[in-house]
Symmetry: C2
DNA sequence: TACATCTTGTAGCTTAGGCTACATTTTGCC
DNA sequence: GGCAAAATGTAGCCTAAGCTACAAGATGTA
């Protein structure tokens, strides 16, 4: 028989206790908001360059079909980030614009930070897209600090 | 009427063209493997410290219920990363051990890198959990290079 | 040995995010 | 004005990953 740990009380509502469990739960929470962040950022960009964001534009931009965009927009509307009427353009609410601005700022910082480490433009773009959603304010501040130090 | 972009040909099987679309698709692919990585890493740790990994241990460790662990293990078994029999311990295959080792290595590097930027232990742990899955080999190499430079 | 407890397994629900296929509305243009 | 094409919307399917509730196997100890 393999070495057996002493039995532990089960604690029905499983409380994670471990730091790793906490970290993983945080990561899962972040995943839930990633979509919203990607969409508002894309909408902000498209609005800036084209005057409004359309479903097809978003689909092309995000690499999904227009159907996926549609369903996601419904949720974002419920969440109060965007306004949209059937067959019309999509616009950000004040809250949406605020979120988009923060994301764009963070995105720029992460890219600049990766580039400062000697990472190629292409890899920096790709990695930043995955990394940025998991960068805490503390870590973002550290990135900015590092960039300022580099600039000297 | 808002300024209207010139209509573009639709290209039925939407090809993403844009770099951002490519990046986002890459990020989605990474999400799909994140779970596998987290599980094999946890199983490797538990096996090292307790001799075997049990469903309850994994559940506690990952911050989910044993039901979720069970279903995920079935997929990991199909994918060839773990072996398990009903009511028995869970073990990694050779492939699983290899993946776990790579993940642990990468995890350690990311943590060390964040710490070297002056980020607190706690924030580094949490951020690393989200970031590590999106770090390309090129970026990982840059992290290691930075650490070596720091060490001088 | 038997029973209570812990562990594991199963059924079935939910949400999110992909998709194809098809219907409907807008719109550019002759 | 009318028509074809583009854009948008809708129905319905899939997988992944969470959950609760309940069933059944394993085990330690009285």
């Amino acid at each position: 028989m393999p070495p057996k740990k002493p039995s532990r009380t089960a604690a029905k509502p499983v409380r994670p206790s471990a730091l790793q469990a906490e970290s993983l739960q945080q990561t899962r929470r972040e995943h839930a908001s990633e979509t919203a962040e990607d969409y508002v950022e894309a909408i902000a960009d498209l609005t800036a360059s084209l005057g409004e964001a359309r479903v097809v534009d978003l689909a092309r931009r995000l690499g999904v079909t227009h159907v996926t965009v549609n369903r996601t927009l419904a949720r974002l509307q419920q969440a109060g980030f965007v306004t949209a009427r059937p067959y019309r353009g999509i616009f950000l609410t004040a809250e949406g614009r605020q979120l988009a601005a923060a994301c764009q700022q963070r995105h720029t910082t992460v890219i600049a930070f990766l580039r400062s480490l000697g990472i190629s433009e292409h890899a920096a773009e790709i990695d930043a897209e995955g990394i940025e959603h998991h960068v805490s304010p503390e870590t973002l501040a550290a990135f900015e600090r590092h960039l300022r130090r580099e600039a000297r």
